[in-house]
């Protein structure tokens, strides 16, 4: 109880409140502008979080990402251009509703079910994380090793691409994490004599490159979106209660699926929206209406992508394994602020955890009034020319990475290199999220592997003889060979049919 009270006083401190409000507006605008993603918003926030209190720092990330995932729906509804990848799955549907003259209903669904989804996702986080934490207290390095590997394998499985390419991306990320002297021998590894590389690749700079600079690069190969048409919008929230009553199952399924996908390492809000939209269609009583401006899929996918955001924090807080690209960045901030992820976080820093839950709830509640304000102002916000915003973002990338890397100019080169790498990977079908997971988790995998081997005196038996470790190992290998099994079964089915 004392922790809960302490959490309230932490969150309702003036600096945290200002941080929440400012980051909400920032997230709403970034998300609404096509080409600027929620992950990019988070990456560019990191240098700012240096100067904030721990709770304020985490609050800015939670709030801005939740807002950006919602506001990405606005250009989707009004212009058929998703503001963030998480809106892409149902952009067409939402735009068709707009064409039918139901723009306010479509926007209302996106706003209302995003907020509900975020809150349900938070409840899941509140309920599941402490339970898992208690369980995870028994984990030793053997279990952590398998958990980390399983997380990496999941990232390759859930990628919407070839699992082979996802595996390559993940290995590339692990290779990046090898650079520097932070390894079991403390010897310079792959530094090629450069003193700048001795400390390793600065993770934040790499992420800024992959998620922000690569996006600026992509803008150069895409035409400026057309100006938003003038449109009078009626009441945004009208009819949402009826829709909530009409589609309770869809909403709940969206929430559950979203939370689960969010918790899976490597898969985030965009994946959740795709899966929920297709699930909605598959289980719908009127699947023929999908794609014609039907609210059902919108309800489910909208409820799903915001729930995924909260879900992503479950493995991030518990194990330091990012559930999505946003928490991949957030983990760095957690460490920086002394909130090192791990099961003990829930016992030793319980008040901070309560504060974090509270921020989630507040963010999803203020999303409704602020979201309505943004929808009303979208005419002006969406008219901001991309050709002037992208250059400012680029300079932010340079200065932000410089600041985040401890005023190290070399970080600017890392941003440039990872910008090119991220851009090339995306173009050629290599999932960037898998590489990011490799970069973030490489050290963890290696440390747990080496520590385990030292503990077991070089024997690999304890890796599979401890019950939980064996269980995790089994699933790791299942995940590794799953694409092969799926392929064989498809072949078999085709053979049987022939």
């Amino acid at each position: 109880m004392n922790s809960a009270l302490a959490a309230f006083s932490m969150v309702f401190a003036p600096d945290v409140m200002i941080a929440i409000l400012a980051s909400a507006i920032y997230g709403l605008i970034i998300g609404a502008l096509p080409g600027l993603t929620a992950t990019m918003a988070t990456a560019l926030l990191v240098p700012v979080t240096f100067y904030l209190s721990p709770i304020a720092a985490i609050a800015t990330i939670i709030t801005s990402s939740a807002m950006a995932i919602f506001s990405g729906d606005i250009p989707g509804c009004l212009m058929r251009i998703p503001g963030t990848p998480a809106s892409a799955a149902y952009t067409d549907e939402a735009y068709r509703m707009t064409l039918k003259g139901q723009a306010e209903t479509a926007l209302g669904i996106c706003l209302w079910f995003s907020a509900l989804g975020g809150i349900v996702g938070t409840i899941a986080l509140v309920l599941i994380a402490p339970l898992l934490a208690e369980f995870a207290l028994n984990f030793s390095t053997f279990e952590y090793f398998w958990l980390a590997i399983l997380g990496l394998m999941c990232a390759t499985l859930v990628a919407r691409s070839s699992p082979v390419k996802a595996l390559a991306a993940m290995l590339l990320g692990l290779l990046v994490s090898c650079i520097g002297i932070e390894n079991p021998g403390g010897t310079p590894r792959f530094t090629f004599g450069s003193t700048d590389l001795l400390g390793g690749i600065d993770v934040i700079s790499a992420l800024v490159g992959v998620f922000a600079l690569a996006e600026v690069m992509r803008a150069l190969t895409q035409k400026e979106p057309p100006p938003i048409p003038e449109r009078k919008l009626g009441s945004i929230l009208k009819g949402q209660i009826e829709l909530t009553k009409k589609y309770p199952k869809q909403q709940l399924r969206g929430n559950v699926v979203g939370t689960l996908i969010g918790a899976l390492p490597g898969a985030g809000a965009d994946m959740a929206a795709w899966v929920s939209y297709s699930l909605s269609k598959r289980f719908s009583k009127e699947p023929e209406k999908f794609g014609t401006g039907h609210p059902e899929g919108l309800v489910e996918a909208g409820a799903s992508n915001n729930a995924a955001l909260a879900g992503g924090w479950i493995p991030a807080l518990l194990f330091g394994i990012p559930g999505d690209t946003i928490t991949a960045i957030a983990i760095g901030v957690l460490y920086m602020k002394g909130l090192n992820p791990g099961p003990t976080l829930f016992t030793e820093k319980a008040s901070s955890m309560y504060a974090l839950y509270l921020v989630f709830v507040i963010a999803n509640i203020i999303m409704i009034p602020l979201g309505i304000m943004l929808i009303r102002a979208s005419k002006y916000v969406l008219r901001a020319p991309r050709s002037l915003i992208m250059p400012i973002i680029m300079v932010f990338c340079a200065v932000g990475a410089f600041g985040a890397a401890g005023n190290n100019l070399f970080a600017v080169l890392i941003v440039a290199a990872f910008g090119i790498l991220g851009y090339m990977m995306e173009e050629n079908g290599f999932p960037v999220a898998a590489m990011v997971l490799g970069i973030v988790m490489g050290t963890m995998v290696e440390q747990n592997f080496v520590t385990s081997l030292i503990k077991s005196d070089g024997s690999i038996i304890p890796f599979v003889s401890r019950p939980i470790a064996a269980f995790l190992a089994f699933f790791t290998f299942l995940a590794l060979f799953w694409p092969l099994i799926a392929w064989l079964r498809r072949k078999q089915a085709a053979f049987a049919a022939a």
Binding site: R160, K165, L171, F402
Partner: protein, 164 residues
């Protein structure tokens, strides 16, 4: 820029072999079963195998399935693809400007370098000509004030020291 899978696969394979070789030459730690060499060697071997699989087009079917799904949800825009192909080299401008920043910012100073970067990219993105100069200068000063005054990041003053 899209490359054929044969090329990306080959690059990854070579990178994997180089990683394996580089890892194998790292000194072991006396009295410790695994040293700094094991992890890179595992990664290198993995990359080499995966690179070979990519070069042989294994797993391509999954990508085709994902693309087919995207096609069902609206489909790719041929005109946009052609535009992207024509402008593929333009994409290198932002990283080039970052390298420019690395080499010049300390000597010339943050504000002029940032203004040049903003101006160059805005021009390349086809911004309104009359707006480019004012936005470059105001944008550079805005970022400078924000980072130097609010976040206390020491950006180089160079030739154009600001009064604050």
């Amino acid at each position: 820029m899209k490359l054929p899978d044969r090329i990306t696969g080959l690059i990854l394979m070579l990178l994997g072999i180089a990683t394996f070789y580089g890892g194998s030459r790292l000194p072991p730690v006396p009295g410790q079963p695994v040293g700094p060499d094991v992890f890179p060697m595992v990664i290198g071997a993995g990359l080499a195998v995966v690179g070979l699989l990519i070069a042989l087009h294994i797993g391509r079917g999954f990508e085709d399935a994902a693309e087919a799904e995207v096609e069902r949800f609206g489909g790719p825009d041929r005109e946009a693809e052609e535009y992207a192909r024509r402008r593929r080299w333009h994409a290198l401008l932002p990283p080039a400007l970052m390298v420019f920043y690395y080499f010049t910012s300390e000597r010339i100073g943050f504000i002029p370098v940032a203004a040049i970067m903003i101006g160059a990219l805005a021009y390349a993105l086809g911004a309104n000509r009359r707006l480019i100069l004012p936005v470059s200068i105001v944008g550079a000063i805005f970022i400078q004030v924000m980072f130097v005054k609010l976040l206390r990041v020491p950006l180089p003053a160079g030739l154009v020291p600001m009064p604050w």
